[in-house]
Amino acid sequence: MSWFAGLLGPWRGFAVTLRQMFRPKVTTQYPEEKRVKPQRFHGRHVLNRYPDGMEKCIGCELCAGVCPARCIYVRGADNPPEDPVSPGERFGYVYEINMLRCIFCALCVEACPTEAITMTHLFEMSVTSREDAIYTKDELLVEPDGTPRHPQPEGPLVDLDELRRGHGWLRATAPSGRAAYEGIVAWTPSATYGEPPPERGQAGVTDETDGES
């Protein structure tokens, strides 16, 4: 009966195809829908502000110093006393990141003593020239209401509404990840609309929304 099985073989192959046609699709229909990013996704950076609108960046260059790709260029300057840009003596008057050099390792976020630089869920940064990939302070700094700015105009591939959904990455628990800090916000969240809840999971607690925003 082996000849019969051989005859049937191709049809069994077609059967596989046929079966798959009725299974639910796994494909994410980008660009119409976007994959949900994990909470700590390393996307594009933003420079945050305090609730009163003051810049958090003090121009200390620790981010530039720690950057393994040396893609950050910061220069500090004296804060004008009558109209200070940031609290304290110094502010960052030049802040540039070359997104094409950046390896999105978030060491700058870890180094930042004022939580001025954080990472968002924004990932659409393709450019046609290398100059355009250098994000200046104007582009990195969030609006006073906490919305990240976008260097590109709105178009089919640029969804400005996305900016409001993709919040700045934040470390909500103790730096050491101690379970005792579960659910305790150690410092205030950054670029986002509203305040996201603290992270879960360090005490072994999980739920299905964990890891999604």
Binding site: I58, G59, C60, E61, L62, A64, G65, Y73, R75, G76, A77, D78, G88, E89, R90, P113, T114
Partner: protein, 809 residues
């Protein structure tokens, strides 16, 4: 126990080590390889034991005791523990105490990243503090001078800055005030920290309490790229580290080089880098175009210069080279003599000393000779104004016991530590010298002081209105003493190197006289040709150019209109001649140039330089030159090629190799020697066993006394209106007010008061306010040289004073 008589043995953490007798325990331990943390102790200053960080345990008859190792001299058989639990606990306690009031603004502090307090907190601190109360607060930062800002919150009261000001620089303008918890470091009310050495306190501050305002927030330590070089601001050649960020030099720090600066710098050395970043630096070749300049290509500019120089044949002269490297000076010398074929060249502008005397005086002193001298004779410029780092060395020697005799027309910075100060009216120097040599009258004591033991004679020109031969006469007197050495003093950056490279009408490279036939042959064989005869010096060159006998001048980093004693002559000469200038800026002199070629400056070139004691040191490069600026040797090589000759100057190492073979005094030097071991502190030429052909023994030139009154004392000040200072925003504002200083008795004869205006007539006429100066010799007018208002005066032995009476007064 120790074998050598000057050694003792101590037990350091269970290890027996031999250390020098009498050394401080902390220094001995660090020397032996055991680091002891400290804040207040500094190897170049006396210990105070204020910070308590250097506590160690020492075995005593009463048991183990905690002692500050910075105040304890070593003793034979001493048993020391530097890391026992007790010491650790003490160190942790000290750090915790220091941090009680220290603010945590490290991210915005200029010291953050290179801060001893940060480092030692990490290495020796407890990791946690128990102090939760509010810290001490002060307004911050407060500017205590134009260069230094003070942040009292950060101060840990180590007294390094106050001790430096008192012990080292001798201008105690910063001190502790108040008592107990309120103690703070500060300046005196209404008196800024106007020290010439204030930058050193910033460098030695172990926290960020004192910061430099020009460097404030310019960069962070981790993005600084540093190389070693020497400061070419003056001829002492202090060792510095040039620190650059993003291709701009943003800081200069002193490096401890035992034979020269011992870690200290003057503020001019420290902040002079600002001129490199000036907006009006020449960065492209310029060709004169009507009243101004137009930008040109290298080919066009060099072609124009070469064709005009070729047309003129030998009627060309060269000035300058005293601010360049030895390699630039050598190529300049070869270019002028070998390619252009002119014997007329001079690195000095008749404002220095005779070339043979400066370059080849015997026996020559080293700066280090000051330390074991019994007496020091200083007859020359006010060191604090002209050679500030040498001032520190002389001051150190004098406070350590050397008898210092200062001869100057007015009070100098060293008068405080001098055993004898002698004032004289400029022009009457020769008479004074005869009286001093004979020990007449009130000079007997000073003569006695010089009479015995080792003497170092620092000789130079006290003022520009006095003849250069005075130094020769003083040196000749010094040689009549038992054991005297001469250190000729000329200020300009690499003037000694330039003279050694033959940039003088009477000298050939390597301390050779132009009359030396044998050396001439050797040089001509390599250079192709060598013009005959002795050329003209700077003044003669300028006169010849002004009268048309010299058709073209090549200027290498020189500003005769400002620096020559006769500014009017220099201006006429430059206006008439065809001038090719290699310079950083369009200066008062290069404004008259027909072609200006941009050269690279400090930190932008490699090369060697020679300081006033003959020490050759290496300059390293840390940033690229801006625009199209290039090293001078490379430009001269192009000019020579356009004139149809080959200088083979295509790498600085190659030029150095050539000059080391052709210049007898530099025989045996190799380029690599400056990078390693002792060579890093420089090498004094001639090397042992090398005898340069020219040895100049000073003899009394028989100067006549000029006793016209009022005599002019025209002397340099540290911050003048020179081209470098003018382009350093932080330093330019520090220039003193231009004034005519008069002795009160002279002023009363003229019936002028302080602030009245007088008109002085020398070469030119200047109008200046009067300042009364009781320290000035009577019958003398002192005018600071080269300020904007005094530049036109010129150097003449005596001036005419007219009082300007305002109408109605």
């Amino acid at each position: 126990m120790a074998d050598a008589p000057d050694q003792v043995s101590i037990t350091l953490d269970g290890r027996v080590v031999e250390v020098p007798r009498g050394a401080l325990l902390i220094a001995a331990a660090i020397e032996a390889g055991t680091y002891i943390p400290h804040f207040c102790w500094h190897p170049r200053m006396k210990p105070v034991g204020m910070c308590r960080m250097c506590l160690v345990e020492i075995d005593t008859p009463r048991g183990k005791m905690l002692t500050t190792s910075c105040t304890t001299p070593v003793a034979d058989g001493m048993v020391v523990e530097t890391s026992s639990p007790v010491v650790k606990k003490a160190q942790e306690g000290v750090i915790e105490f220091l941090l009680i009031n220290h603010p945590l603004d490290c991210p915005v502090c200029d010291k953050g990243g290179e801060c001893p307090l940060q480092d030692q907190t990490l290495a020796y601190g407890p990791g946690d503090g128990r102090f939760v109360e509010e810290k001490r607060h002060y307004p911050k930062p407060i500017p205590i001078s134009d260069l230094v800002a003070l942040d009292r919150e950060r101060c840990i009261l180590c007294a390094r800055c106050t001790r430096f000001s008192e012990e080292i620089s001798g201008d105690p303008l910063i001190e502790f005030v108040d008592r107990g918890n309120h103690v703070e470091v500060n300046t005196f009310p209404n008196h800024p920290f106007t020290s010439y050495f204030s930058g050193n306190t910033v460098q030695i501050c172990p926290v960020g309490a004192l910061t430099a305002r020009p460097y404030r927030f310019r960069a962070r330590p981790w993005d600084l790229e540093a190389v070693e070089a020497v400061s070419t601001v003056d001829s002492v050649h202090s060792k510095v580290s040039l620190e650059a960020s993003m291709n701009e030099i943003v800081r200069i720090s002193g490096v401890d080089c035992d034979p020269t600066n011992q870690g200290w710098l003057s503020d001019k050395d420290r902040f002079v880098y600002e001129h490199l970043l000036a907006d009006d630096r020449v960065v492209v070749p310029l060709i004169a175009n009507g009243d101004g300049f137009r930008e040109a290509s290298w080919g066009e500019a060099v072609g124009l210069a070469a064709s005009r120089l070729a047309d003129l044949g030998g009627a060309v002269a060269g000035l300058g080279g005293a601010r360049s490297t030895n390699e630039d000076a050598y190529v300049f010398s070869r270019f002028l003599r070998g390619v252009v074929g002119t014997p007329h060249l001079d690195a000095q502008l008749d404002d220095g000393l005779a070339p043979e005397f400066a370059a080849a005086v015997e026996p020559r002193a080293l700066i280090d000779d000051l330390d074991d001298a019994d007496a020091i004779l200083l007859w020359g410029p006010d060191l604090k104004e002209e050679l500030p780092v040498l001032y520190l060395r002389v001051r150190k020697a004098a406070t350590a016991g050397a008898k210092l005799v200062v001869v100057h027309p007015r009070r100098t910075g060293l008068d405080d530590v001098a055993a004898h100060t002698i004032r004289y009216r400029p022009g009457e120097g020769p008479a004074l010298l005869r009286r001093l040599a004979a020990g007449e009258g009130d000079l007997a004591e000073a003569r006695d002081a010089l009479g015995a033991g080792k003497v170092v004679a620092l000789v130079g020109r006290p003022g520009l209105a006095e003849p250069a031969e005075l130094a020769e006469a003083v040196a000749a007197f010094a040689l009549t003493l038992d054991d005297a050495r001469i250190l000729p003093l000329v200020r300009r950056g690499n003037v000694f190197g330039a003279l050694d490279m033959g940039l003088a009408p009477t000298l050939l490279p390597g301390r050779v006289s132009v009359d030396d036939a044998e050396r001439r042959r050797a040089l001509a064989a390599r250079w192709g040709s060598l013009p005959d005869g002795v050329g003209m010096g700077a003044t003669d060159i300028l006169e010849a150019a002004a009268s048309g006998r010299i058709g073209a001048l090549v200027l290498l980093g020189v500003d005769p209109v400002r620096d020559h004693p006769r500014p009017d002559l220099a201006r006429r000469a430059l206006e008439r001649a065809f001038v090719v200038a290699l310079d950083l800026f369009v200066t008062d002199s290069t404004r008259h140039a027909d072609v200006v070629l941009p050269v690279a400056g400090l930190g932008e070139i490699q090369g060697t330089v020679t300081n006033l004691e003959g020490r050759v040191q290496k300059l390293n490069r840390v940033v690229p030159p801006p625009g199209q600026a290039r090293p001078a040797w490379s430009i001269l090589d192009d000019l020579a090629a356009a004139l149809g000759s080959e200088l083979e100057a295509d790498a600085v190492e190659k030029i150095f190799e050539e000059l080391a073979t052709l210049a007898p005094a530099y025989e045996g030097l190799t380029w690599d020697r400056f990078d390693w071991a002792e060579g890093r502190d420089g090498v004094v030429v001639p090397l042992e066993g090398v005898t340069p052909p020219l040895r100049h023994v000073p003899s009394d030139p028989g100067l006549a006394v000029v006793s016209e009154r009022p005599a002019l004392h025209l002397a340099r000040v540290l911050y003048d209106d020179g081209v470098l200072v003018r382009h350093c925003p932080s330093l330019a504002s520090l220039a003193p007010e231009a004034a005519a200083h008069l002795h009160p008795r002279d002023a009363s004869v003229l019936a002028v008061r302080e602030g009245d205006r007088v008109r002085l007539e020398g070469v030119g006429v200047v109008e200046l306010p009067v300042v009364l100066d009781p320290t000035l010799a009577e019958g003398t007018v002192y005018v600071p040289f080269n300020l904007a208002e005094t530049a036109a005066l010129g150097a003449v032995p005596s001036v005419r004073i007219d009082v300007v009476r305002e109408a109605g007064s």
